[in-house]
Amino acid sequence: MTEPVTAEQIGKSLFDFIKSRIVASGVDFNVDTNFSDIGIDSVSLVELLLFLERSFNIRIPDSHLTRANLSTINTLAGCASSCGSVVS
């Protein structure tokens, strides 16, 4: 039986994905940096949501796509972990 993925694991994966695919090299950020401070816009947020789908089979429902949940890597990871709904 596979263990559920933790928010910390999701957060680390998101961090790596953002660092390699979304933000320019040399941009300084951490898991608590506000997305808007590093230029992550709505299109980039969609890319993060699709990354969660592909990597963890997690699809976050619309009701959870609030400003608070989409503000930092930690909040997004926490939301994804608590949703944890499997994509069919």
């Binding site: 979304i22 320019a24 040399g26 709505s42 299109v43 969609v46 609030t66 989409l70």
Partner: protein, 441 residues
């Protein structure tokens, strides 16, 4: 320690066009063939005090990038080779033209000339209008170019990273790439399949009112929203179901407004098709100023789905997620890169197929936050910024959204020959109401 000019990477003597550049050049070619001056963009900046033209000319001379840009010449020495810009000693410098008052129009002049028009009125306020060909820079690039002029004035040289040449990969990687040429063709095919399906006829479109042909005199209607209204619009994004996807909400409101215009003109048949550019730059830093770093997503909304904003939002959200899930923007970028090898005349012809010249109902773009963290232009405080998209016929209509100092602005650019004032008044009214009360519209 100040960075010496000599330590800044020199600008290349030759640089490949991106797929986006070549696409813009093909559109430009298409417009020139109808007697226009090409695909020309404008950025208008209101300033609270005039800019000294000599100060601007000095900065343009100091900027190696501003000196380099006008000397680029299109080159394809061998047929089907990827085209390049080559630096030569021809080409005019970027002009700085002063005006005592603000005219209602600016002629663009010959293709490839970039210019600054400075308007200083008697009250002490001023306007700067920067004009440039889309084949050289996209909107974000033009903003980066202008922001760089502030840096040049302060530090005496350009910032790094204004030009991002396509890197020549090592031989092993290139050999590997040849083995995956088939996969690139496959990606391009998926993109063609998607675009062909999304833009299949019938497409609802406006046509010239009084004549068969269009001289395409351009005009624009600017719709400003104050801070309170901008906050209200953000709330409507969430209430309408678009959530954090503001661009989707803006597009939905635009589609509803355009639908109202189509209904007024008794154009009932056809779906509303809108290509939307996607910014490919990496985030978090001012990216390259030079070249078009864009891909495209295409949206298609049936006529009977284009009346209520929440319904339109649902359709657009699904299409956006599906396109990004399927990698359509990446496939489209591969397609545009492959098209670079095609002769320009042939490429322009392909753009007219398969929809016989009707490529969209209207063009749309959300530029996002403009000139964030930039308070002045060469010392003059910036009051307002407007982007004017190039719009020819077809489709004759473009809607651009942007934000400056947190306040939203929508610009309806249109071809005069295709619209009466009542058409534009109606679209403006429906757009404004849709944005402010979207969930109930």
């Amino acid at each position: 320690m100040k960075k010496n000019q000599e330590t800044i990477s020199p600008l290349p003597q030759k640089i490949r066009l991106t797929g986006g550049d070549y696409f813009m050049l093909a559109l430009d070619n298409k417009k020139c063939s109808t007697g226009l001056n090409g695909s020309i963009c404008r950025l208008s900046m209101a300033l609270s005090q005039p800019v000294d033209p000599d100060r601007l000319r000095t900065v343009l001379v100091q900027s190696a990038f501003a000196q380099w840009l006008p000397h680029l010449c299109f080159s394809r020495p061998v047929p089907f080779m990827r085209p390049r810009w080559l630096v030569n000693d021809q080409g005019q410098q970027i002009s700085v033209i002063t005006h005592k008052s603000e005219p209602s129009y600016i002629t663009t002049g010959k293709y490839h000339n970039m210019r600054f028009d400075l308007f200083n009125n008697e009250s002490g306020c001023a306007r700067m209008v920067f004009t440039w060909p889309h084949a050289l820079m996209d909107a974000r690039g033009a903003e980066a170019f202008i922001q760089n002029l502030n840096i040049v004035e302060k530090e005496g040289h350009d910032r790094e990273g204004l030009v991002n040449p396509e890197r020549r990969e090592p031989l092993t990687r290139r050999l590997q790439a040849m083995q995956t040429f088939g996969s690139r063709i496959n990606q391009a095919r998926k993109s063609v399949h998607y675009i062909t399906n999304a833009s299949r006829t019938p497409i609802a479109a406006f046509s010239p009112i009084n004549s068969q042909s269009c001289n395409t005199t351009q005009s624009a209607r600017i719709i400003n929203f104050d801070e309170d209204e901008t906050v209200q619009i953000e709330r409507q994004c969430y209430a309408s179901g678009a959530n954090f996807m503001k661009s989707i909400f803006f597009l939905a409101a635009s589609i509803k407004a355009v639908k109202a215009g189509l209904v007024r003109r008794n154009i009932k048949d056809g779906a509303i098709v809108v290509p939307v550019p996607k910014n490919l730059r990496l985030r978090g830093k001012p990216g390259p100023a030079f070249a078009n770093h864009i891909s495209t997503m295409t949206y298609r909304v049936k006529g009977n789905e284009a009346f209520r904003i929440p319904d339109i939002v649902t359709v657009l959200k699904e299409q956006m997620m599906n396109q990004m899930r399927a990698g359509i923007p990446e496939h489209y970028e591969v397609l545009m890169n492959l098209f670079r090898r095609m002769p320009l005349s042939q490429y322009s012809k392909i753009l007219r197929e398969p929809t016989k010249g009707q490529i969209a109902t209207f063009f749309f773009s959300d530029v996002g936050e403009s000139f964030k963290d930039t308070e002045t232009f060469l010392g003059a405080p910036i009051q307002d910024v407007i982007h004017f998209a190039p719009v020819g016929f077809p489709p004759g209509l473009a809607i651009v959204f942007m934000r400056f100092k947190g306040m939203l602005c929508a610009i309806i650019s249109y071809v005069l020959e295709c619209f009466e004032q009542n058409d534009i008044d109606l679209m403006e009214s429906v757009l404004r109401q849709g944005l402010l009360d979207g969930s109930n519209q």
